[in-house]
Symmetry: D2
Subunit: 508 residues, 4 copies
């Protein structure tokens, strides 16, 4: 697997929601759509999964199911059965957790308030979570989990004070919440028959909207409004295809969108502080997102390929062949090959059945290392100089045995080209990055990284190269006036983990 795949670096989660159009019983089976949507976002979190549906009635009946592990593990047929009467719902897949009780941290979080139950699913990490927790607890609320999702839910319930006689103004409460925390959150809040889709003013985490149409019209441009069977909202657009939805648009940074059986309605766009650029996480492009997802009007795969091309320009190599560390580095490797004119080959063959280690490792097993995961396609590269494109070098302990394997199998030289700049700084906005000390780029060994990992040479993409590979596409789209759903006049990306420049003051 690529450096990123091996690094354990990952998203905190993915969120997904669906509202069927029209009255119950609707044609669309919402529970099924939610499950398929979750499966399509599974790469954003494999630790636990949860779905909450509402029947939309007054008062509404909610049904919920959560479970540990993959969606397919967590959701047995009976679980789907109890969710089937919903005609709207939100769901969540979670990457990793800390805290006492694991299932408890699983989202969506549902609480009963004076005005009925609300459900919240959240992707991101509140930069000022500690201060907000203290504020909530000072009010006398006990927090039963360590998740930001519960914190957000309690904040929504808390202020302003609730009165029994009035209907609650959830939008005002969401705005109030947004005034208390600048980033990062892509948020789904379900109440009765409405889902509020919210993105923080910096747009740090992705969120986009799709329109469910008859499968036969999924790709046709002729699907009219009368064909709308429902609406979905998702961390990534890759989920739309698998449930039969057309890409509609992104939720804008700072925007609150209301989704109901009557359609999609933008309620408000909370502005950033003057002068601040948007700060969409650049690593969604580099690694996290699925390659067929679309951000800011461009396909992720294309951006990765551009990174490979840019890398070939910045760091050309005198070599015979170009290859990839499967699977996530492949677009960049193909880009590198195209730009450099070197032939693209495969050097490694993955054993897809190597899973959880059930064998107590002994010395031999440890020495074998990657050999039980990868077979070397020796004849493809024996006697040749190989350019191996990886998507990152995080700790430096994965690429090293692969280089060793290739060299032992006959490669005369192995040049490492990394399709992203070195990671040097922690992320406080939802990405689980190793500690500063663990990152190879902060270690003395980094001075001679090639020697350290046994490569003939090592070159990284520059920050400028990465930013231009990302933004070039947006610029060219803008010229053609095609940035679907981008809407924001200015372009900006968070590169904090590479540069240490965070979009907001951290001691906020």
């Amino acid at each position: 697997m690529s450096a990123f795949e091996a690094s354990g670096i990952g998203e905190e989660c993915g969120v997904f929601g669906c509202v069927a159009a029209g009255e119950w019983p609707t044609q669309l089976e919402v529970a099924q759509v939610l499950t398929l949507g979750l499966v399509a976002l599974q790469h954003r979190g494999q630790e636990s999964a949860g779905i909450v549906t509402s029947n939309g009635a007054t008062p509404p009946t909610y049904a919920a199911h959560k479970g540990m592990g993959l969606v397919s593990t967590a959701f047995a047929p009976e679980a789907l059965l109890k969710l089937r009467y919903g005609n709207l719902g939100i769901c969540h897949t979670r990457y990793s957790t800390t805290g006492i009780s694991e299932l408890q941290n699983c989202q969506p979080f549902v609480v009963d308030t004076l005005h009925g139950q609300i459900a919240v699913a959240h992707n991101g990490e509140l930069v000022n979570a500690a201060a907000l927790r203290k504020r909530v607890m000072r009010h006398g609320v006990g927090l039963s989990t360590s998740s930001d999702s519960e914190l957000i839910t309690q904040l929504l319930a808390l202020t302003p004070p609730m009165e029994e006689r009035d209907a609650p103004d959830w939008v005002a409460r969401i705005k109030n919440l947004m005034s208390e925390t600048p980033t990062s959150y892509s948020l789904l809040v379900m109440f009765k028959d409405v889902i509020y889709a919210v993105r923080d003013p910096y747009g740090n985490r992705p969120l986009c909207i799709g329109r469910v149409v008859p499968v036969s019209k999924m790709h046709s441009s002729g699907a009219g409004e009368e064909d709308t069977e429902g609406w979905v909202v998702s961390s990534e657009s890759c989920s739309f295809q698998s449930i039969g939805a057309k890409y509609y648009r992104e939720v804008l940074p700072g925007e609150i969108v209301q989704i109901s059986q009557h359609g999609v309605k933008s309620l408000s766009v909370v502005p950033r502080p003057e002068g601040d650029l948007p700060a969409f996480c650049i690593f969604e492009y580099v690694y996290f997102a699925r390659p067929d997802s679309i951000f800011e009007g461009q396909m992720v795969y294309t951006v990765r390929q551009r990174c490979g091309r840019q890398l070939a320009i910045e760091a050309p190599t005198d070599a015979d062949v170009v290859s990839t560390v499967p699977e996530s580095a492949t677009p960049a490797a193909l880009g590198y090959a195209q730009q450099s004119g070197l032939p693209y080959i495969e050097v490694l063959c993955k054993n897809r059945y190597v899973g959880r280690t059930f064998i107590q490792p002994n010395t031999r097993l440890r020495q074998l290392g990657v050999a039980k995961k990868f077979g070397a396609l020796t004849d493809n590269f024996a006697g040749k100089r190989v350019v191996l494109v990886d998507d990152s070098i995080v700790r430096g302990n994965t690429i090293s045995p692969i280089i060793k394997l290739l060299k032992e199998a006959g490669a005369t030289e192995v040049h490492i080209r990394v399709a992203s700049p070195p990671i040097r700084f922690p992320c406080y906005m939802g990405i689980n990055i190793p500690t500063k000390e663990e990152l190879i780029a902060n270690k003395p060994e980094f001075q001679d990284i090639a020697g350290y990992i046994g490569a003939a040479s090592v070159k990284y993409l520059t920050v400028e190269g990465l930013v231009s590979a990302v933004q070039e596409g947006i610029a060219s789209l803008r010229q053609k006036d095609e940035v679907i759903g981008s809407g924001s006049k200015r372009v900006g990306h968070c590169t904090a983990c590479l540069t240490g420049k965070y979009p907001v003051e951290l001691e906020w």
Copy 2:
């Protein structure tokens, strides 16, 4: 199984706590004691189980594990491993649940407050839960479960307002809670290095304290204070023997007891409204408790046997033999036999392997009814008139096929004698009783109950007979000044499900 066993009537839960004496690492393995204690209370709830331990340090580290099903299912060895560093802890076993997410309702409930985590385990049902929920939600707190335990926890955190600079006065908060709800609760509240054991002013649910001593001194009267290895607190004393503890005393109605590594200390006794008697649930004697438990100084088995004797006095029978519906009615049946002078025999033999029904029932299976659960010991009663003592008749649908079975197998007459009065009213204090409409005593068929169930005659114990069978022992103990841990000057029991007289106003 007896009528009660078949009725699904049951407790809401059992609570158990343990504090090791002295400093960490203590000799006592608290996690193990807690688990064994839970197993001994398993009859009070089989749906889920949970344990929370604290290492007692400043700030404390808590560890928790919860799971569905029996303790033995919910607690795998790894679960115990993560709990092992605690030197105090509380745990809970739960009977049944309503609400959205089942594991979520599982206790103990742990929340993070401004002053650290507290954990709460609760047996009972707050009569004014609905009003209290509303009050908490009006304050802006979202409630994530339907359990009273969460409600109690949030109430403890809520008022008076928390200030960061001060240490929290948990005892004051507990008293405040007690002023807001009269009954029913036996409560364990763990904070850092202390467990507060609390019983509501009516003493509706049981709670008692044991002293952990070396196993060799468990039954000896010579176990001195220097032998104390720790303290336990439990819904029932039957758990003490299985972990090696000596019965110490009951927690009094209204009492707050502090248990720490330094010992047991009574902090306060919150009084009842003037004129109100205690209202210990009489059905703990009749059915719920394990027969070897001790309440108010008397063994439950003995009370049940007295009920059988009293029944023989009130309702003598012209018959040949006395028998029981196994297993819970056996003490009463033996009491009836002793009092009446009729021989005690066994008529049914239980197949202990008949468990969860995995066979899709067809007509034949439904007709077979109890026959797959019980074998008739024909030769013991063929040609004889049988007095069959049961502990209750709840819905009337269990005893009927048993009578049929006995008659078909050769009994000439089957007389039913019920060792408790008819249940006619719902319980709002923690017992899961069928609806008024389901109770046989409220149906027209009750007029000719013998005819309805196919018995030669049916007689119930009177309410007066039951109360005297329960209180006679207490009175005689009092004369001998032996009421261990009763402490309360006056005696009183809740008979609401039999008489409709509730200990507190329900519209409280």
Copy 3:
């Protein structure tokens, strides 16, 4: 639990078969009857379970399912589904196993022969298994399991040589098998549309036949032949009631009975060597069988009670109360109480939730011993002299902590009365008895067994007493001409484990 329950002594298995009357589709759901029958025989083996059904067609289609653990674990609803088209079938529940692969040893054993598949289920142990295995292997057959069932199946296939053109004479083959091995076996052989029920000439293991009738006529004497819905054959008659069958008769020692949709037909009775008595295992009465089963015309419970009475005559005690070690010793204890005139009481209360030990035992836990399994009903016996009736003392390590518990809880004396003679010899006929060295009766400590286990006195039932308790009922029945299904002119029982006198030469 009683000494026997704690000893791990047990049957090797139980067998059960069913044939529906008439043509397919029959009214009777054979797969369901088989499953219920197995559940009713579960006490004879809990390690694994298997069912094989046949549709009875030409050629027949067999369906099979086997699984480890209890029937309820091994048979999920899908398993039953695949068995549902059978209109006859045999099944098996197994106690324990040795050998390489556990599921492989699970019965019934099915093999494909030149003339189609046969299925075999076997209870017992062939005394000359080793010689027979050698003979089969010399013929060139590899044996894939260590079970006698496979051996029997291969022996049936082996001789005389098979010819493709002829139909096989299975009855001749069964007789041939019986000529090669004298005991012990109760055997079900299924071929196409017939079950052959076979009992060895000594009748060492039980086997009896029942007639399936409409549930409403199960106990009525008026169920005529036209009411027959099918036939069942079972190790014990206790299974008949749970599936709605009437007891029909025993299979006689040496008898081959053919059961088909057309009814039950005795084909042959293979005689014993002249002068040899039958040798029905006396421990079926003493411990193995369910108390409601009927052997030789008498109910097992009644025999156990008679053992208790006989024990009271042989070994009277100057004491205050009589009690039992629950649950299997209870009939004997009641018999003792009746004969002696002493009151019967309960001294122990079982925690039925104590199951598999998932807690790593430490010193405290080991010291607690039986305390976590049993609660002492102190008030029933404190200050009293107790006669405790157990069904056996096998290794002597179970009764000892119970005595300790009772004495510590206040019993002034504990006298042990054992309702069977000491076990001293191994069984080679299907019972899993500890090695000679492990048996307390063969140890030096046995000289002062009372002192060793801490009892005031210990007395055993004599072999003569046991035999007379067993045979007295048969004799009296014979006088009344009521020995249902016994048929055999003479009476005899195997007491080899008590006396060392085996029914056949062991070096056979």
Copy 4:
């Protein structure tokens, strides 16, 4: 997934064996090597897995474990524990099964013979299995499974007759077996301290030998004989790398090789009938084998790439880009791209979390088809003419929705190029091919296959083209005298499923 991946076509199994060098306790952990070897052969069978080890002593002790599902599911740590004392062993992974009891069919098959236990693992399918079964059953042997492995085992035990006094000549018995069945089998037979590795005279199934060396010397040419830690034998050489073994040689068609702690020894080569060529299954190259495996001196990946090149020569296309149906068709696609000069791109992105379908499919779901498995990388091919290389078209129902997906997403033309000839005939030698009726090449629709599946054009590789792509490498190697382990003077491959020409008479 590629047409083959979707077709369910698959091997019947993979076999693997290992013997540690030297005396027990050897350095090599055989159980671990066997498990890793199985994992590396998992692509040859996912239904069940089994391992049998022997301690090699006199008499030997065998340990066995079998389980359903993937190796990682079937082998829990405890299973490995019981295998750990072996210093040789064989194992098996199985593709699919028919017959009554599934676990029962799981290999290796172990039987007890007069001379001790033998264990057999088998890959292939005996063309004359039916006749052989009859012969064995006529001898009086009952066969308990439908697997050829049991049949082989019983044949080995059967003839010539066994005598107790003599040691068995297993090699003579193996030769005898080979004289009774011409193909197909690659066989491992373990007896005590020896594994016999056997390949049928036609060499239909693969089998090769590796030498276990210190991991550090795995790829070095300098690993001398003194470095040998053990020997392994495997269906495919891809397993060698993952356990740290060097490729040693193929087992030749008809060869019997003895592997023991003392090394590898060729015992015999049973010849084919005069004039018959070898008949190694050509589909091992085309689809079954892992691309890094080596057959006849050439890497499978290279052969597949050559098939792609050959296809480009035979069926050039006027198009813009070349792509693959991931994953197995990728080498051929890259070969096609290289030969044609067209750029290679990716068009589909796989969701690797789509697993077992736990969702009850409704119309929408069925219509979505491949969309939930694959995301279209639209920007890569929109507006372009795509050559899509697949490895086969089996039923024709997989490629069709992929073509639809690509066209809807913007491809202007989709040309299908198939890197193997049409499959038209069944395989009787171990490959699970759909029935003749299901194969698209035998249907009327095949006349206009392009129209049927919606492609612009469809072209297949010719049989001659395939054979030359396979044999060209062998010829060139031969010139260079480098055919490692091929040894056979003449070259030949089984193409029966393409041509209907079977290597042996089927009515044999």
